[in-house]
């Protein structure tokens, strides 16, 4: 790795607009394209501080700052356009979290990298609407939170309650939400409001290890731990009334449910297995990367194809997982209000995937090209009229669901034409960590965190209360900064702001 002083490093960075920085070639060795990142003044400070800290002389251990990771990704074979950092970027494994990169499918040297997807394959966010208002829910908020907590298995070691055997799992992996539909867990129209209609067709369960299946089976229909959650939220602000109404959001105070979860141990194991396979493929095909953690394989190699098929199976697992929790959420609400999910109008507004690689067509230098787009901690944000978004959102652009941190707020954005041009139709995914977990545990007291939530009227049910400080808002960047940056840069557009009134966590 090149060792330079902080001031020398800065020579490779150039602020090109109020919200965008350019990373010039040479910042890291062998960059095929330039990098860039989107920040506002506050996020910019965090970003540069991280770089500065890594430039300390004689530092050992430690990790690569996000900005260096963007540049390392820019050095991967077959990358086109730019390696892009979104405003919520932070250092991750190989790729930074909040990094997107696209690779030319027609270039035989192009690669696919499991690090560009993440361990939690098809981690994503789903938003359900209701026709309830805050005044309907406030009096029963605590009971409702408890009921959701009782319905949805959360936290380490919890097991799914949707009956499944090994054969069901094979079918679910192949069929994704079509399986959920066949088994009666979701509504037909739910699929319409999911990326890929809740099913990646190239999924092949035969490419998945027995170990991944064994880890996955007991965990299907569980929320997980860490930053995953289910929240009851109310509409706090509507920025774009027309688009909001297309999503069935009419006024402030309307109640929605947000579910943030992924493919659980199944996806984690698929990613782990692929990384081990790819290490070998890299040696064989002599693929050189700047960082050992950027394990990758040529898209057309056996390892590359096997990974894409297994990743698709994990993506299907995640959709079935979120669908199972959708079912449980609908049951909990119906019981509480003594009615049916239908009468509560509990439709899926949308379901986004923020850890995934997909084949998409984009314009590059005036020509349409078929690309493998990696989005790690980045959400697809397609503009109005894009053929891959559902008919209901053809005129608004694709809804983008941005989950905030515990007790802050979340946003619904819509995709824009400018985002399509600048970032391959991608935007931010959440708040992005600012403090390390260990630091959070040392500096923040969990009782204070819980009290604070209570004071602002948020009911909370959490499986591991002693760990809530790791997820406290102080540990994260401000999601509003992140979303405002995306809006100001034009890569997506603010539509709705949501505020939580009850949080269920692992």
């Amino acid at each position: 790795m090149v060792v330079r002083s902080y001031n020398d490093e800065l020579k490779y960075l150039e602020k090109v607009s109020d919200h965008c920085w350019r990373i010039k070639k040479g910042f890291q060795p062998n960059m095929n394209v330039e990098g860039c990142f989107y920040v506002n003044s506050r996020l910019e400070r965090l970003m540069l501080e991280e770089l500065k800290n890594s430039c300390r002389p004689g530092a050992v251990g430690g990790f690569l700052p996000g900005v260096k990771q963007i540049a390392n990704v820019a050095a991967l074979p077959g990358i086109v356009g730019r390696s892009i950092g979104l405003p919520d970027i932070h250092s991750g494994y190989g790729f930074a979290i909040g990094n997107m990169a696209a690779f030319d499918m027609d270039d035989p040297l192009s690669v696919v990298s499991p690090g560009g997807v993440g361990f939690d394959i098809n981690c994503g966010v789903r938003l359900l609407r209701t026709n309830l208002y805050e005044k309907d829910v406030q009096p029963v908020k605590e009971q409702l939170a408890q009921s959701l907590f009782d319905h949805i298995p959360v936290g380490v070691g919890s097991k799914g309650i949707i009956p499944m055997n090994a054969r069901d799992l094979e079918e679910a992996l192949e069929m994704g939400m079509d399986w959920s539909l066949r088994e009666g867990y979701v509504w037909a129209e739910d699929k319409e409001h999911c990326e890929e209609y809740g099913r990646m067709l190239n999924a092949d369960p035969a490419k998945v290890s027995m170990r991944a299946k064994k880890r996955g089976l007991p965990q299907l229909g569980t929320l997980g731990a860490g930053n995953h959650y289910a929240e009851i939220q109310v509409v706090d602000e509507i920025y774009d009334k027309w688009s909001a109404s297309k999503m069935g959001i009419e006024e402030k105070g309307q109640v929605v449910v947000m579910i943030h979860s992924g493919s659980r141990g199944f996806g984690h194991q698929v990613a782990t297995d692929a990384l081990v396979q790819m290490e070998k493929a890299m040696k064989r095909d002599k693929i050189e990367t700047n960082d050992r953690q950027l394990a990758c394989a040529r898209i057309n190699s056996v390892e590359g194809q096997d990974y894409l098929k297994a990743m698709a199976a994990a993506a299907n697992f995640a959709w079935v997982n979120r669908s199972s929790m959708t079912f449980l959420t609908r049951q909990a609400f119906a019981k509480m209000f003594n009615t049916t999910p239908d009468d509560l109008d509990m439709h899926v507004i949308y379901d986004v995937s923020h850890n995934i690689a997909k084949v998409e067509n984009h314009m590059v230098d005036g020509k349409e090209r078929k690309l493998l787009v990696h989005r790690k901690g980045s959400t697809r944000a397609f503009p109005p009229h894009h053929p891959l978004i559902p008919v209901d959102y053809q005129l608004t652009g694709q809804p983008v669901l941005v989950g905030g941190t515990m007790g802050t707020c979340s946003y619904v954005l819509t995709g824009t034409e400018q985002g399509m041009k600048e970032t391959f139709g991608s935007t931010c995914h959440g708040a992005g960590r600012a403090l390390s977990r260990a630091k959070s545990r040392r500096n923040i007291d969990y009782k204070e965190v819980l009290e604070k939530l209570d004071q602002i009227g948020i009911a909370i049910r959490v499986a591991s209360p002693k760990l809530v400080m790791e997820e406290a808002p102080e540990s994260y960047k401000d999601v509003t900064d992140v979303v405002d940056t995306c809006h100001a840069a034009g890569i997506s557009k603010k539509c709705i702001k949501l505020r939580p009134i009850a949080v269920i966590k692992g």
């Binding site: 494994y93 380490v156 070691g157 731990a225 390390s436 692992g506």
Partner: protein, 156 residues
Amino acid sequence: MEVEFSKDNFLLPEMKYEYLDHTADVQLHGWGTSLKEAFEQCGVAMFGYMTELEYVSVEQCFEIEAKGDDLEGLLFHFLDELLFLFSAEPYLVCKKLEITKFDMETFEISCRCYGEPFELGKHPQGTEVKAITYSAMQIVQDTTANHYEVFVIIDI
């Protein structure tokens, strides 16, 4: 594979591990007077992040095997086996690990894992470990001072 063991003269090892800073994840740091001990400690450290080990009693023993291409690979696969022991049948939380075979030439490990199946209500829920990573992995061998250390970042 479950194996028999005797609770007579069963001793728990002293704690030689800690958790270090990393932005999104956590770094396990285990040490000991042999590499074997450092590996064992690192493994227990991982379980300590999933639950509180004082609530775990030693009821069962399972034997696992791991193999790598090099020392880092061996550590990676050793921890991956332990994670699997927890993530699927028998859902074991280990309080003590005892490496019975540590082959530095073929990079193979056999290990006896003592603990009990994870049970909601009995064991507090900690954080879920998604995966083991090679990220900033370090294995320090100071043979003169008889001091061995390992550093592993786990994805959570």
